[in-house]
């Protein structure tokens, strides 16, 4: 009975990992299989041969680079604006005292509840009237709404971990409040700001509903919209779709490798308190 315990432990861990990793492994290897092997009725669990043919065809048949560029532009703008706006707002909500401060915090929290679809219809009409419908600007504006209020919440744990004494010491030395924020506070809370930026990038990179309605012309389309179109075709080009999936998933995975640790810190600290 005693030596069975470690076995059960490792079996359970392996089961959990496989459950979440197997589908991703499958798409990854399928993107390198030549078409006959890919579509074979007896799938191979370890690929027999290797090809980059799907990646070549992806760039030839789909305007992939343009979509990639558009997505990158929208997602990085969203991340930048979110990080700035949320950092300022979080500093204000957690470190300043003024009437209406609690109300602010609650307002940001309520944004959790807003159905995206509720926001979409009025924004669509508003942007149409302002003449910015069908532009990356409209998309960035909408995406910041999805990411920034939530970010204030993630930042809470990071901001509270910066000791007040550090700020007070700087004030004694004659630094201004703005200097304190930029020179002392933001560097100390940097992991939190990074986590917020990465989270905004991920959300924006992945977002489909706003991206498919607020942007109409092909030249501004983002990756999810561009690829979803091919998912709706009668005969799906599976090789191309696999290669596209790997390339779309790549930037979020790289971003997560860089700052994922901080994101998880922010996520867990925020929820447990």
């Amino acid at each position: 009975m005693k030596h069975l315990k470690p076995i059960a432990k490792y079996l359970s861990v392996i089961a959990v990992i496989s459950f979440f990793a197997a589908p991703m492994y499958w798409v990854f290897i399928c993107s390198f299989k030549p078409t006959p092997e890919l579509l074979s009725l007896k799938p191979t669990f370890v690929p027999h041969s290797f090809t980059l043919e799907h990646y070549r065809r992806l760039f030839k048949q789909v305007d992939f680079l343009r979509y990639y560029y558009n997505s990158f532009l929208v997602a990085s703008s969203t991340a930048l604006i979110t990080a700035l706006a949320a950092t300022f707002a979080a500093y204000s909500v957690y470190r300043c005292r003024y009437p209406g401060r609690r109300f602010m915090f609650r307002l940001f929290l309520v944004s959790y509840i807003f159905p995206k679809i509720l926001v979409l219809i009025p924004l669509y009409i508003l942007f149409a009237r302002l003449g910015i419908l069908d532009s990356p600007l409209a998309l960035v504006a909408a995406h910041v709404t999805l990411t920034a209020p939530f970010s204030v919440w993630i930042l809470r744990a990071f901001f509270e971990s910066v000791p007040r004494e550090v700020e007070e010491a700087a004030l004694v030395d004659g630094a201004t409040r703005i200097q304190i924020i930029f020179r002392i506070f933001i560097p100390l809370a940097a992991p939190g700001v990074a986590a917020v930026g990465i989270n905004a990038f991920l959300m924006s990179w992945s977002e489909y509903l706003f991206a498919s309605t607020l942007v109409i012309s092909d030249q501004f389309k983002t990756l999810p919209v561009g690829m979803a179109y091919f998912l709706q075709q009668y005969a799906i080009e599976w090789g191309i779709m696999m290669a596209g999936s790997v390339l779309i998933a790549l930037p979020p995975i790289i971003g997560f490798a860089i700052a994922g640790k901080y994101f998880i810190q922010g996520l867990t600290a925020g929820s447990i308190k």
């Binding site: 009725l41 700035l84 679809i117 926001v119 979803a228 779309i248 995975i253 994922g260 447990i272």
Partner: protein, 298 residues
């Protein structure tokens, strides 16, 4: 020192200045849409630019008499309840497994969230491929294991589509919540567990009397977040099924979207989204009230 602290914290002008950008943004892109959608519900707007006509509550009465609206609500209910139940139980299970001592657990704990990091369109392509009736690996495994006589059409048959889409969404969100539950599990004092072990408490008793009470507040928060995010999900369902086949996965957000952007009934769609928002707001407030009351008593 006290006056200095006051000097730091009590600078209302700076505080308001710093919060202003996000506040204005939220007012324009959340509060204005909410007010505008509420107003839109009392008008008849068919096309953007055409003057709206005031029609009172007739949008609302039409919605409440629309059987498709109620069907969408029912589907949303099934979708949300299943998602919350499986995400919360699944994340608890995954967290308990990953809370054990094993080699490489720091790496695994950080990377287990990967399904959530995947963009939704990749999620949709991935599962459409894996579950494909002809080329999909799942049907191949089921058939070679002799479990099914003919391939299952997971995403295109009426009886399979809802469970399948729920499964896919649970697969994606379980690791996300597992990370949070895992962090809560680590707050359980080691001495407490050891003492229980010395007293000869069984694994089940330890779980029931120590683990569960400690992580209960976090589980409540996870349940609320899971509920609010599940009910609002649009992208995943739309990219996998477009609400089909035959409306079988048309939950409320999908139905509202179709009303607005396929039937061009903007007013009706806006009215429905306001109803949905009010329901969610009421639910969240009631939930948090009970939570705090319980916390105060216990």
């Amino acid at each position: 020192m006290k006056t200095l602290r006051r000097k730091i914290t009590e600078d209302p002008f700076l505080g308001l200045l710093l919060v202003a950008p996000l506040l204005i943004w939220v007012l324009i892109t959340l509060i204005y849409p909410l007010l505008y959608a509420s107003q839109l519900g009392f008008y008849n707007v068919r096309y953007v630019g055409v003057p709206a006509r005031f029609i009172g509550v007739s949008n609302y009465s039409r919605i409440l008499g629309d059987p498709d609206f109620w069907k969408a609500c029912l589907r949303s209910l099934i979708w949300t309840v299943c998602n919350v139940a499986f995400q919360v139980l699944g994340s608890l299970l995954v967290a308990l497994v990953l809370n054990q001592q094993f080699r490489g657990r720091t790496i695994i704990r950080n990377w287990i969230i990967l399904p959530w990091v995947l963009p939704t369109v990749v999620l949709a392509i991935m599962w459409t491929w894996i579950l494909d009736p002809t080329h999909g690996v799942v049907n191949y495994l089921l058939k070679s294991g002799g479990l099914v006589p003919s391939p299952l059409r997971f995403l295109s048959s009426s009886q399979w589509v809802m469970p399948t889409v729920i499964f896919i969404n649970v697969w994606r969100w379980t690791p996300y919540f597992a990370i949070i539950v895992l962090a809560a599990l680590q707050t359980i004092p080691k001495e407490l567990m050891e003492a229980a072990l010395v007293d000869g408490a069984s694994t089940l008793r330890r779980f029931w009397h120590i683990t569960l009470p400690t992580i209960k507040p976090v589980l409540s928060v996870v349940t609320l977040i899971s509920f609010l995010w599940s009910i609002n999900i649009f992208d995943t369902i739309w990219l996998l099924t477009r609400g089909g086949p035959l409306d079988f996965t048309t939950t409320l957000p999908i139905y509202i979207y179709k009303r607005a952007f396929q039937d061009f009934r903007f007013s009706e769609a806006a009215a429905m989204s306001v109803i949905m928002f009010l329901f969610l707001l009421g639910f969240a407030v009631a939930y948090l009230r009970t939570l705090f009351r319980e916390g105060a008593e216990g």
